[in-house]
């Protein structure tokens, strides 16, 4: 009897904790940013506009408001949005790889590899031109933009059905 009551108490406690955790996750800044991008993409799709217009939707107002005008603060504006696109990119890539086979699968791997090298060389080039900390927010914004574009590219590719 006592063991039963204890089990019930533990079960209730675990349930409550899990719920609190779920609430915390859905209200987290990450979840909010994700929702902003998702609704932007849905609106652009409905309006028949370019999905790439959503890139910068979190970083741009953050940079304009200048809450933290230090170089790291500015870079952080881009990183917040980068996180959302990076997650989306990985999800789309996984879906595509499941969808593709044979030569197409091999080629997709090559596309991703070439893209990562290109993105890092391109965005890293700001450090070559600008040797101070000013390159940090430029690199961050560039990395966010390129990741967003690639996530959208994969999203479009997913939408095309082949005639194989």
């Amino acid at each position: 009897m006592c063991a039963k009551a204890l089990f019930l108490a533990v079960a209730i406690y675990v349930c409550a904790c899990a719920r609190a955790l779920a609430d915390a996750t859905s209200n987290s800044p990450e979840a909010e940013n994700r929702a902003i991008i998702e609704s932007c993409l849905a609106n652009k799709t409905k309006a028949g506009e370019k999905l790439s217009r959503c890139i910068g939707i979190i970083a741009d107002p953050c940079l304009e408001n200048g809450e933290d005008p230090s170089t790291y603060g500015m870079a952080n504006c881009s990183t917040r949005e980068y996180d959302v696109w990076e997650t989306r990119l990985n999800e789309n890539y996984q879906k595509l790889m499941k969808d593709l086979d044979g030569e197409a699968k091999k080629n997709m791997r090559e596309v991703e590899r070439a893209w990562i090298v290109y993105r890092d060389r391109k965005c890293g080039f700001y450090h070559v031109l600008e040797q101070g900390t000013a390159a940090i927010p430029m690199d961050a914004y560039c990395t966010m933009t390129e990741t967003g574009r690639q996530a959208i590219f994969l999203e479009k590719i997913l939408g095309y059905s082949g005639s194989k």
Binding site: L100, N107, M108, W115, R121, K122
Partner: protein, 161 residues
């Protein structure tokens, strides 16, 4: 003898005509007017970020597609505009290279350009592997145009960093 000569000349003219028609359809170079349209637009949008949207597709490729919207015609219109962007890109690349005096930085620029070409080609060619149809031909050509125009603007912008 005369009949034979006339026949040879006629046949040669026929061959010339065929090759020039074919040449016109697939190897047309951009006209001075098309080049001017793009260059004027580029001058108007040096660094407001609107350049790629305002200056690519609308001015040359789209009016060209209105005249021949077939799959191959469309792809060729994208190719014609890409020729213009490719020239601008090469000019901007050279200017940027000249503006950088350090050898190490020049090497980085060369490397960056190489990785861009690899990215552009693997990405734009991927449409074929996914679609496996003739629709992928204009999509690949549009992708090449989009990326080349974007790149031309970036190389100009980097000169001002």
């Amino acid at each position: 003898m005369l009949v034979r000569n006339v026949a040879i000349v006629s046949f040669a003219m026929f061959l010339f005509l065929i090759s020039s028609i074919d040449g016109h359809a697939q190897n047309r170079q951009p006209t001075p007017e098309e080049i001017r349209l793009i260059r004027d637009c580029v001058e108007k949008h040096p660094d407001d970020g609107k350049g790629p949207d305002e200056c690519s597709f609308k001015l040359v490729a789209e009016p060209c597609i209105e005249k021949d919207g077939s799959n191959l015609g469309t792809a060729d219109c994208y190719r014609i505009e890409s020729v213009i962007w490719d020239t601008i890109l090469n000019e901007n690349y050279k200017d940027l290279m000249d503006a950088i005096d350090e050898k190490k930085a020049q090497d980085k620029l060369r490397e960056m350009q190489r990785t861009w070409i690899a990215f552009r080609d693997t990405t734009c060619d991927f449409y074929w592997y996914k679609i496996h149809g003739s629709m992928s031909v204009p999509m690949t050509a549009a992708c090449q145009l989009r990326e080349t125009a974007r790149r031309a603007f970036l190389l100009a912008l980097l000169q001002r960093v």
